[in-house]
């Protein structure tokens, strides 16, 4: 009976030792796993930021082009308005001169 008990105790001791050893190994594996996941997350993070920066640059670049277009078209439009105004001034020039002559002499 003692012999059987001794054997069982031996098996238990071995089992406990193995469990402890396995726990230490698992702890190492766990840390490695977490570090790997962390590295992977960092890579994803960098990718996300890189992509965001690329998109941001694209947005600003498009806006710059749009701003340039607005300025070019706007200035063209202003010149058209100026020409129209000049034409209009030519049409009323004589009348305006006479109006001012009358205004000044009517004091």
């Amino acid at each position: 009976m003692d012999e059987v008990l001794t054997k069982i105790l031996e098996v238990e001791q071995q089992g406990d030792d193995q469990l402890k050893k396995a726990a230490r190994e698992l702890q190492v594996i766990k840390r490695r796993y977490i570090v790997e996941a962390f590295e992977e997350a960092k890579r994803k993070r960098e990718q996300l930021i890189k992509e965001a920066r690329r998109r941001a640059e694209e947005i600003v670049q498009k806006a710059r082009e749009e701003a340039r277009r607005i300025q070019e078209e706007g200035l063209k439009q202003v010149e058209v308005e100026v020409q129209q105004l000049r034409k209009r001034f030519e049409e009323i020039r004589d009348e305006a001169i006479m109006l001012i002559v009358k205004e000044l002499l009517s004091i």
Binding site: V4, K7, I8, V11, E12, G15, Q18, L19, A22, A23, L26, I29, K30, Y33, I34, E36, A37, F38, E40, A41, K44, R45, L48, I49, E51, A52, A56, I59, V60, K62, A63, R64, E66, A67, I70, Q71, G74, L75, Q77, V78, E79, E81, V82, L85, R86, R88, F89, I92, R93, E95, A96, I97, M98, L99, I100, V101, E103, L104, L105, I107
Partner: protein, 210 residues
């Protein structure tokens, strides 16, 4: 229970424990990794959103600036054109008046007479000296008649006389009290200056009306 079966049972129990231990460790590692990863990704997404929003703000600012610059240029250019035109009109009107004066046109002479009376009333009558340019100096103006009218209105004996000196002006005159205590500037340039805004407005109204 036989010895072998007991030992087998104990071994099996330890195997199960190890399997459970592995499973638990795996689950714990996965959980911890997931939490850390999620936090990093969430922060990265937040940062990425911030970068995009900043770019969108910058884009809006660029567009607004361009629009504002166009509006400013438009406003400046139109104002510049209007100002130049009004100045041209005024210069041409003064030249026209100069021609009328040269021709002793009755409208110009009437303007002088009416204005001299008005200026004399403004000065309250009395002894006044009229200064004209060289061209207008020779124009016959009924100064005695004007003096009489002013005397009646101001109830002050008035005498207006032409000054010996001439002044440099496009047209119009300067009327001064003989004692130098005051004057009325009716030079056309001064009248234009005094009424510049009103004159500009009238010219530009003409532009819009037709």
């Amino acid at each position: 229970m036989s010895e072998d079966r007991i030992l087998e049972y104990v071994k099996k129990w330890y195997e199960n424990q190890r399997a459970k231990q592995e499973e638990d460790a795996k689950r714990a590692a996965e959980n911890e990794a997931r939490i850390r990863t999620q936090r990093i990704i969430a922060e990265a997404e937040q940062e990425a959103t911030h970068i995009i929003e900043e770019a969108q703000r910058e884009a809006k600012r660029l567009i607004r600036t361009a629009q504002a610059e166009v509006a400013k240029t438009r406003s400046y250019r139109l104002l510049e054109e209007k100002g130049a035109f009004c100045k041209q009109v005024i210069d041409a009107a003064l030249q026209h008046i100069a021609k009328l004066a040269e021709a002793r046109d009755r409208n110009y002479v009437h303007f002088l007479e009416r204005s001299i009376a008005q200026a004399a009333i403004e000065l309250g009558g009395g002894h006044l000296v009229l200064y004209l340019n060289e061209r207008d100096h020779g124009i016959h103006i009924e100064l005695s008649k004007i003096s009489e009218e002013v005397s009646k209105i101001t109830k002050t004996e008035t005498k207006i006389a032409k000054g010996r000196k001439t002044i440099d002006t496009v047209g119009g005159f300067v009327l001064k009290r003989a004692d130098g205590s005051g004057d009325a500037d009716y030079r056309l340039e001064s009248l234009v200056e005094a009424r510049r805004e009103e004159i500009y407005r009238k010219i530009l109204e003409l532009t819009r009306r037709k």
